[in-house]
Amino acid sequence: MERIYFDHSATTPVDREVAKVMLEYMTEKFGNPSSVHSFGRETRKAVEEARSSVAALLGAAANEIFFTSGGTESDNLALKGIAFANRKKGNHIITTAVEHHAILHACEYLEKQGFTVTYLPVDENAMVSVEDVKNAITDKTILISVMFANNEVGTIQPIKEIGQLAKEKKIYFHTDAVQAVGNCHIDVNELNIDVLSLSGHKIYGPKGIGAIYIRKGVKIESTQHGGSQERKLRPGTENVPGIVGLGKAAELAKIELDQRISHLTNLRDKLINGIQEKISDIKLNGHKEIRLPGNVNISFFYVEGESLLLNLDLKGIAASSGSACTSGSLDPSHVLLAMGLTHEVAHGSLRLSLGRGNTEADVNYCLEVLPQILERLRSMSPLNAN
């Protein structure tokens, strides 16, 4: 059976070119960039080129980019690194209720360390209000962290406006752009971003590598201790193949960005419209327009997400859900609940996240299969009768 992958927000396949260059840096050019000899010098050069490629994608300078092990580490470094380094200035952090767990759980940790965190609510589209951010600021506020685009429902936040506000108030502004990089135009200067997290495996790059952009002058301290790699901010032998792979992925993202956006937007809207036409009793989650080009998130009333996923999987379609039954925890998605969905409706959510490899045929196949599955599951549901 052919398999269709509609779960690009969870992870993406590594681009062939990316894999090729990584292979080269695993077996041939394998030196430690800290070494003086030729093996070391050739990898040092490659690492610095990759740094420039990542910087170019964000409109940043190369020396403002630091490599980490992924989005989670970048998020942790941003929050803890800035919080601890600026403790003398204040202990208040502002974030939102719909952040990724890497942010939320890092914030909970910081609360135990004496910081105060405001978790801003969102509207029914998962959008945070700039006014709310403004009102939450106190003279103790040292950091505002608002995600660029939501990983579950795709809503894109008013980053530029929040950044502007933070700039005026001289508060650092971090954005978790793990889902947005490679899917949205991002210029850290235009958007007033001080610190930004990204992850390789969401942009057709490798897993286990990420980066953090830190505007020159931002006070931040390291969370990991050891050697002097990454200017001591992030010690540990550099993951050269990962870095080189991320560099290549960033390069491709820059070149293909417009094309990816239009391709994904087109498929996304076909899929949303098709589902709306063919299936009743549904709800599109996330903002209708201001959303990731590849994100479709719909709640199907009366059915539960995991059984929906398993049925799709049996038909060869890979997707994800905000259902409690698919998560390690036993609560449905905190994002859907923060948007005001009931447990039941949150339970029946399905996320189809499209990628550059998807085609109209994939969308059509999904539109053929999905109504059948819904009919079957709904016929089994005790909630459907009414």
Partner: protein
Amino acid sequence: MYTEKVMDHFTNPRNVGEIENANGVGEVGNAKCGDIMRIYLDVQDDIIKDVKFKTFGCGAAIATSSMVTELVMGKTLDEALKISNDAVAEALDGLPPAKMHCSNLAADALHEAIKDYISKKGK
């Protein structure tokens, strides 16, 4: 993740549906995850002549629902009351640890349906 038996009962659930003139109906919501199951019984002379279910829940919830109906079909009420959550999970060759709570749904709903039958009969 799931055993073959779970997937079999999930993809081809036995005894899905309602019994129109059921003389015992039990519905439980899984407190842990919010899933819901309803069991319909047709009891004749203390024997379960027919049983059907409707479930809003995960793969394990649907499979355990299906399995529990198969396990009790034709059994006496006493026998049916003895069926435990573990027995249902075992009959499916086991469930992943995170999914053990799902088996509660099925056994609990069954027991509720039997209770309903008994209380109705008592009237």
